[in-house]
Symmetry: C2
């Protein structure tokens, strides 16, 4: 079967956007409000215009391109993703979803489709948090989850506040609260994103329809023992913090497996002090990143981790846990999930339901309107690296599902030929 | 029973030296050739003179105080330790041995003892390596194990070479090779040192006689896996370098126990990369410090460690070992060990034979002359910290053994009263 999306145009849009990087040859580096970001914004606006969209920029730099509905008073469907990147990232994380929106608009134009309900393609700022930290800034502002007054507090590595950067970008930060979208003003949000994981590739499937985004907890575990000379302290007289930490660490991966196949546990950051090759470690601290699809699973995983750590406070070691972050799981719209599935089926695409292990703009905008999220495969599961890759034909298949869903949800009809109306 | 050493004088010597620290109130910090070191040198020279010693300083700043022998042509017995400290260290590590030499000289004077063989009390430079790295600099120069030309290459944190520091200290670095002692020019070396471990205190013993210094190996283990997003990579699809490293680390302490009660294994330094809380570790590297009393045990411990690491190169992880250091065990003089034991016995002191897990000047000077080493208890096994402590009475008991051994080995006799010679 052949799909709707024009693979060559999709490739042109992705490659076109990828020219705007601060690190040519070393991945995509496009921090929000940077010169590269501004150039990408201009490119997006030009392509939106070419696709027949009415372009506007909101008070913080999110770009909207509108296909007017036959009933312009209906709340629009938003479709898109973010335009910023991590330092030395890939060309697909974010842009894939923006391009999905723009290509869908081209398809509406090519096929002379007129939606009953307006559609707005969006390109959002600062999802990665690479400039101002925290992340999801554009979607949080739209969804009213971030007080615009805080833009004066959020600062980049050089000490420039988001408000100052907005002003330098040519917008008025005092107007930022006008970017907030009122509840009920958006009918739905659709996002396409790369999976950033290995599952679709491993299973040889075309797309995943995300039913929920995992809940996330972050713990900091500290094991305190007693330092000592590596040569003069017999093994039996030691209170080695690393030996104690290893006993804990060895038990952790199995906890995630016990909770369920979609639960994950990662220790990514670890410090051993004082850190001399000939000194018995006095203190070891490490992070534990816990994610699970349901709140019940997540709280169970946290409890099991705390139990393992608590049981290790022996042999003169003192173990402590600090709870640093807790974000409950976000269910996405079951109705949109069903439509995405039906359209994927109709297109003959292999698909699966998936739980997203990473946060996306969809996670935030789900608080504003019913939201759907589609994943396309990531080669080797690699993301946030120059090697990030999705074949353009794979991306086009994901766009087909987005386009078909937009068409159905917006009530698009093919206009009668002019001649027929007269007969 | 009461011993020989004057506890009050011993305390005065230790406390007198401890005034010379760059960090008053925060431990002893006395780097070689520093103003504090120079002041301590002057104090030592003054006390040596008070004890009736003939004082000289060699070309690199080692201080010698000589009790002339009745036969001045006999090779002298050296007794002492080092005068430098680690940053924020304790008052006993090094000075205890220097004070043992000086107090012994006072006892020779007080008891009107005249040795047949000359005795030289020594205060050595730069054992800790805190200024120029490597350590054992004074003893290595004396024993001819370090080419004096290298003093121009060894540099401190500020980039000052040892040669420059020697010149600034008022000595001539060009004369450094005159500090080297000829083979046969020293009859024996005796050192008293704090244990820096918990064994004597735990066993309630007065002193340990060290029969050998452990052999030491240092390995660097690197486990390489694949980085990935902590949220989007299922547990079964991971190649987590830390999970692999933990499997290795969990097996290591038992290897030392399997080799023997005097073998120790320490992982003191560890790095997890890239080190983001939400990133699966790509690379983990850690040091393994291995020590054992015999070369057979040490090589067995190394082989077992290599085997554990080698067997862990699975699940897509790549494990490598780099051999960074190998120092074979150093046996000390069996004859001197027997004399020290006999004198401890005669003094009614509880004692044990011990293997030293740390290197000391004795380890180097054993290459120059038959060497003996006595340990006194360290409270809590703590050393290289301001809390380092040995009760003065405990130190005095160790000095008694050194003094009695010196007296026997140097063939000291009590001079006849002048009146009797005439009768």
């Amino acid at each position: 079967m052949s799909g709707y999306a024009d693979v060559r145009r999709v490739r042109g849009l992705i490659e076109g956007l990828d020219r705007y990087t601060a690190t040519p040859g070393r991945g995509t580096t496009r921090l929000t409000y940077s010169p590269e970001f501004r150039a990408a914004r201009n490119f997006v606006a030009a392509e939106m215009t070419a696709a027949g969209l009415a372009v506007r920029e909101d008070a913080v730099g999110n770009i909207f391109g509108r296909i007017e509905g036959r009933d312009p008073d209906l709340a629009p469907i938003l479709v898109g993703s973010h335009l910023d990147s991590v330092p030395h990232g890939g060309r697909f994380d974010g842009p894939a979803g923006v391009v999905a929106g723009i290509e869908s608009a081209f398809l509406f134009r090519d096929l002379c489709l007129r939606p009953e309900r307006p559609i707005e393609v969006v390109a959002l700022i600062e999802e990665e948090g690479s400039r101002f930290g925290g992340g999801l800034l554009g979607s949080r502002l739209l969804a009213g989850q971030l007080d615009p007054a805080r833009l004066a507090d959020l600062r980049d590595a050089a000490g420039v506040s988001a408000a100052q950067a907005i002003a330098a970008y040519g917008l008025d930060p005092a107007e930022a609260r006008r970017a907030v979208l009122a509840p009920g003003s958006v009918h739905a949000f659709l996002e396409l994103h790369i999976e950033q994981g290995p599952v679709l590739e491993a299973e040889g499937r075309d797309i995943a329809i995300v039913e929920r985004i995992v809940g996330l907890a972050q713990l900091m575990v500290t094991v305190r023992g007693r330092a000592g000379h590596a040569g003069t302290t017999p093994m039996h007289a030691r209170r080695d913090a690393l030996v104690g930490a290893v006993l804990i660490l060895a038990q952790l991966p199995d906890l995630a497996r016990a909770v369920g196949s979609d639960a994950v546990l990662t220790v990514g950051k670890m410090e051993v002090l004082p850190g001399g090759a000939n000194v018995i470690p006095e203190m070891v601290s490490f992070t534990v990143d816990l994610r699970a699809p349901s709140e019940a699973q997540l709280t169970r995983l946290i409890a099991m981790t705390c139990e393992v750590v608590g049981a290790s406070s022996c042999n003169g070691l003192e173990c402590r846990i600090e709870h640093q972050l807790y974000v409950p799981p976000t269910p996405l719209s079951g109705r949109i999930c069903a439509i995405l599935t039906a359209e994927a089926e109709a297109l003959g695409l292999s698909h699966r339901i998936m739980v997203s292990g990473a946060g996306h703009d969809a996670m935030i905008l789900a608080g504003l309107a019913p939201t759907g999220l589609v994943f396309v495969p990531s080669r080797g599961g690699i993301s946030h690296a120059p090697e990030e890759w999705t074949d353009y034909i794979q991306l086009a298949r994901g766009i087909d599902v987005i386009f078909a869903t937009l068409r159905r949800m917006a009530g698009a009809t093919v206009p009668e030929p002019a001649g027929r109306l007269q007969s």
